[in-house]
């Protein structure tokens, strides 16, 4: 296990930079650095990139606890907050790209979309649910909320499912990729359910009482 100094001074900064790479790739493409380009439909490219990485970071965040247990790496949990905040960041940028660059603050259309188009309603709900998690991610809030903090942050389970659903519903014909994400999320959630299952001994006691 790496020492806390290594985690703080090496692993965390390196992870911070690595997580920013999708953002940097867009910046490079926007300015044509290294011949990269945003292509014929730059708004779509930006929106898709942010959305895809939002979903990926949600999955990665959800994977921290299982991976910690499977590979006996307790220190991984120290990286979870950064991963979760990056997930929030990419999801928020995905939303803002839609709001500002795609819709151009065209409010009547925006409100109609959020209210009437299920895939947008679902995506928007996922974003809204992420806000309290981001707000309560500080040490101070963790202390203040105590046991309720853990309960609140279980919202991530629902958020991940909403995010996959949002993706599934906007695909035109081939749903292979959304189904892969769904499988990943279900494995990560299923493992938690299995771990939390009532133990045989406990069940027996309950049945007797």
């Amino acid at each position: 296990m790496p020492s806390s100094a290594v985690i703080r001074r090496v692993i965390k900064p390196a992870l911070f930079v690595a997580c920013a790479l999708p953002l940097l790739s867009l910046v490079f493409a926007a300015f044509g650095i290294g011949g990269a380009s945003l292509g014929a439909n730059p708004v779509e490219r930006i929106q898709d990139t942010f959305g895809q990485w939002g979903l990926r970071f949600l999955c990665i965040t959800l994977a921290v606890t299982p991976v910690r247990d499977w590979f006996n790496m307790p220190w991984l949990v120290q990286l979870r907050r950064m991963l979760g905040l990056y997930a929030f960041f990419y999801v928020l940028m995905h939303f803002l790209t839609w709001l500002i660059l795609d819709q151009g603050f065209y409010w009547s259309g925006i409100l109609k979309d959020i209210g009437e188009r299920p895939f947008i309603t679902i995506g928007f709900s996922a974003l809204v649910l992420l806000v309290p998690l981001a707000v309560t991610s500080t040490n101070k809030m963790m202390r203040r909320l105590g046991r309720r903090w853990k309960k609140l942050h279980r919202l991530i389970y629902l958020i991940c499912l909403l995010a996959v659903w949002h993706y599934y519903w906007q695909v035109k014909s081939d749903v292979t990729e959304p189904l892969i994400y769904l499988a990943i999320v279900l494995v990560l959630l299923g493992w938690r359910a299995w771990k939390a299952r009532p133990k045989p001994a406990a069940t027996a006691v309950m049945e007797e009482s």
């Binding site: 380009s37 292509g39 081939d174």
Partner: protein, 321 residues
């Protein structure tokens, strides 16, 4: 046929040995372009070698059926495509279509017509002047482009086969070549792609059988060597790489309608008042407008209302979407 290809008799003045063979020429070009592309672009360079495979066409602009809008760049038109036969991403057709062979090409004309049979593409187009028409293409995904197509009016070609009174519809079919079209190896859609028009739609002067764009033959990713263009309908009606034209009495099945009937109808007319079940069709993104180019309102029948509205008189366009 106006595609300038060397014919056996043409080269009398030049010895065959003096001419660089096409394959060597293309290989050389590919090498040069690959080197250039690798240096300049790094990624996404596949389309460059593709552009080398198209030939010049002699075209005459048809001003009556051309928009005054500035066309999109050749690069945008040839690198941002929906052509699921070559993959689902917009960049896939340009990247995955280099193995596709658009020549020689044969089109079968079948069904309710006096003259039917199989025709070489050159014979199908023989005697028709190739017109350039600048049309707006509105994709069902709510984006649009302006494209200078080269082609012949569909009606002029269809009339030569003398459709009978039973010919109420025209059905089209795309070639099925999974070995050359990697997308056809997956089941993203029901292959081969099929489309259709009512006979009066097919005979409308706006309907175009396109063989090129920007004064050149169609690149593979745009539906080489022969595709349909119906500018008042969503782009997916513009079936590509056509190998069969069939006159039918009944409404023919169409691929996207088979895939998702509540989302894609037979008519697929551009209509800002009838939304796709999952997204609005009221406004569209103009490709080429850049990051800060906002959406513009979509026009009824994609701006071709005056020309085509009479085709649908009395029809409930919400029902016949």
């Amino acid at each position: 046929m106006l595609i300038r290809r060397p014919r056996p008799g043409d080269s009398a003045a030049i010895l065959p040995s003096e001419i660089t063979s096409e394959s060597v020429y293309l290989n050389r070009r590919k090498l040069l372009q690959a080197a250039l592309a690798a240096g300049v672009a790094g990624i996404g360079a596949g389309w460059v070698s593709e552009a080398g495979a198209v030939a010049d066409l002699k075209v005459q602009r048809n001003a009556k059926y051309s928009l005054s809008d500035a066309p999109n760049s050749y690069e945008d038109i040839t690198t941002y495509n929906n052509f699921y036969e070559f993959g689902l991403d917009k960049s896939d057709p340009a990247e995955n279509s280099s193995r596709f062979k658009p020549a020689p090409w044969t089109v079968a004309v079948t069904g309710e017509a006096e003259h039917t049979g199989k025709f070489a593409l050159e014979d199908l187009l023989k005697g028709h002047a190739i017109e350039e028409r600048v049309y707006r293409l509105r994709c069902v995904e709510a984006w649009s482009m302006v494209i200078p197509w080269a082609g012949v009016p569909l009606a002029d070609v269809l009339k030569r086969f003398k459709p009978t009174s039973k010919a109420k519809y025209v059905a089209f079919k795309t070639v099925l070549r999974p070995e050359e079209m990697p997308g056809q190896r997956s089941r993203s859609l029901d292959w081969p792609y099929v489309e259709g028009l009512r006979i009066d739609e097919a005979m409308h002067p706006l309907s175009l059988l396109a063989v090129g764009l920007y004064g050149k033959t169609l690149p593979n990713q745009n539906g080489a060597p022969l595709r349909l263009v119906t500018p008042w309908k969503y782009g997916f009606k513009g079936i590509k790489s056509i190998v069969e034209i069939r006159f039918t009495e009944k409404e023919p099945p169409t691929t996207w309608n088979i895939s998702a009937p509540h989302e894609y109808g037979f008519y697929a007319n551009v209509n800002p008042n009838v939304d796709h079940p999952r997204w609005s069709q009221a406004r569209e993104r103009k490709i080429g407008a850049g990051v800060f180019g906002s959406r513009v309102p979509t026009l009824m029948f994609n701006g071709y209302e005056q020309e085509v509205a009479s085709l649908y008189k009395g029809m409930d366009l919400k029902k016949y979407y």
